[in-house]
Subunit: 322 residues, 2 copies
Amino acid sequence: MDIEKQIALINKQINNSGFQKDPAELYEPIRYFLKNSGKRLRPLLTLFGCYLFTDDIAKALKPGIGIEIFHNFTLVHDDIMDKAPIRRGSKTVHEKWDQNIAILSGDTMLFKAYDYLIQVDKDLIFKIISSFNDCAVEVCEGQQHDMNFETRSNVSEEEYISMIRAKTASLLGFSLKLGALIGGATDADAENLRNFGLSLGIGFQLKDDLLDVYGEAHKFGKRVGGDIIANKKTYLLIQALNLSNSSQRERLQYWLQKDEPADEKVKEVTKIYNEIGIKELTESKMDEFFNSGFQYLDQVKCETERKEKLNDFSKKLIHRDS
Amino acid sequence: MDIEKQIALINKQINNSGFQKDPAELYEPIRYFLKNSGKRLRPLLTLFGCYLFTDDIAKALKPGIGIEIFHNFTLVHDDIMDKAPIRRGSKTVHEKWDQNIAILSGDTMLFKAYDYLIQVDKDLIFKIISSFNDCAVEVCEGQQHDMNFETRSNVSEEEYISMIRAKTASLLGFSLKLGALIGGATDADAENLRNFGLSLGIGFQLKDDLLDVYGEAHKFGKRVGGDIIANKKTYLLIQALNLSNSSQRERLQYWLQKDEPADEKVKEVTKIYNEIGIKELTESKMDEFFNSGFQYLDQVKCETERKEKLNDFSKKLIHRDS
């Protein structure tokens, strides 16, 4: 499992994935968005899931591309809903073209995603598409809950975890499960890997939330405190709202209603977080999920060496500081 | 093939199709839109396609529901793109709720559509999903062309036919093909039925275009000339632009730039259509497609009586005057 080589194969396949067609208004945005790559984490997980059980990982490549296209579809549509102007340093599709094109290009990506996902052994298609549909519906439900949270002041910790499980983590879980099924895993091991991916995904999101406030700006590549400035309902803010005493809560509410001065807002909200101990709380929650994830991985029955590689890969992702 | 009974079964299945879930913001719009029924033409065609080859049409019901959900997904998203306030006499989803909810509810419908579509014999799934993906991509391409046409003054007859083939007719063709494959048709006959549906679909769209101008208002249930008022690029307008002499074209351009008085606009544009003979031209094009469609149906190898029933059903659709 040579990761750099596999990323090159993934990118090559994506660049040849049949989006060189007419009408240009539909396909150019798709090529543009897919090229502006990201880490290709999901197809890598699919390849890893397969690799645990067989050397023939080539057969997991196309279904993995399906996941990557689906993931990018969700980003194109989410960016419309979130009115996000920038994604991965470039203009979002609805911003560079227009909203109608972003809706329709997104839809088209989705059909292409299914076209890749069915490139598996015939006797696996039903199981794979059926699980994928469940996962995709979860992603939509998660996005809806996330939007609902924006106007609510009483989101509980459980609700937040459940939202990120659906919106973000479930696809990571499915990516691994997909590869495992293709590689010939038992249903039990495919499920163990899905649970591993789910826990990892929740942990990653908590880490993202944390890095926004406590990351080092130059490594993170984003403005520190962007979530604070935008009043984004992260784990940190939700827990601060839930755990603050009345004077802290009053100060928090004061800053939630103010946009400026942004630097002072970040500083003051961070100060409240520090008083409550939000950093340690988030770290401990994050570790809880990472640990429970690795317990699922432990249970998978496959060659230890192979599992070690997935273990190492995951640990690197966990310890990234940007 | 008792049509009323089948429609009742379709509606019952749709009302129980698993959209009674949380979050309400996601699922209520889906239930609302699917209930406001329409003619259920596509699942009926799927059932008919199956019926030609077997009495066991129950097995075509769920995949047919998949097509109906997909069709409604396209309407929810198209309504956003077209900024349409009303569909089938009720508010559109983005109008009754908001645009984000319409995007996301639409996406969710799509995953559910696939969930129904894979409810077929395991050895058919690949073929069915693969053809369906092609058809769905065509629908998107057709919608993009349709949007492109709005700002173009030189759309050719061929381009228009090709657009409605993709946007509207291809799904009718696939609906029949799907049923045929489920019923055990040969690939050749499944393809004959797809071509029958395609031709029928193009004919229906031409008829729709015609009824807007030459239909009887009280039967049609819409304002006569709505397409004229909206400058919609129908077959009639496109052909009038292509075939008018310079003085007719000048008058046409004059009215294309005016919204008011609407009644006069309808009257004057219709007058130009009459001078050019657009009605007869459209009727003859429409008949050409209907005739070529029935030639495909003729070629299908199945019991004559069964074919007669599909023939009668199609003729009734063709001769509707509303």
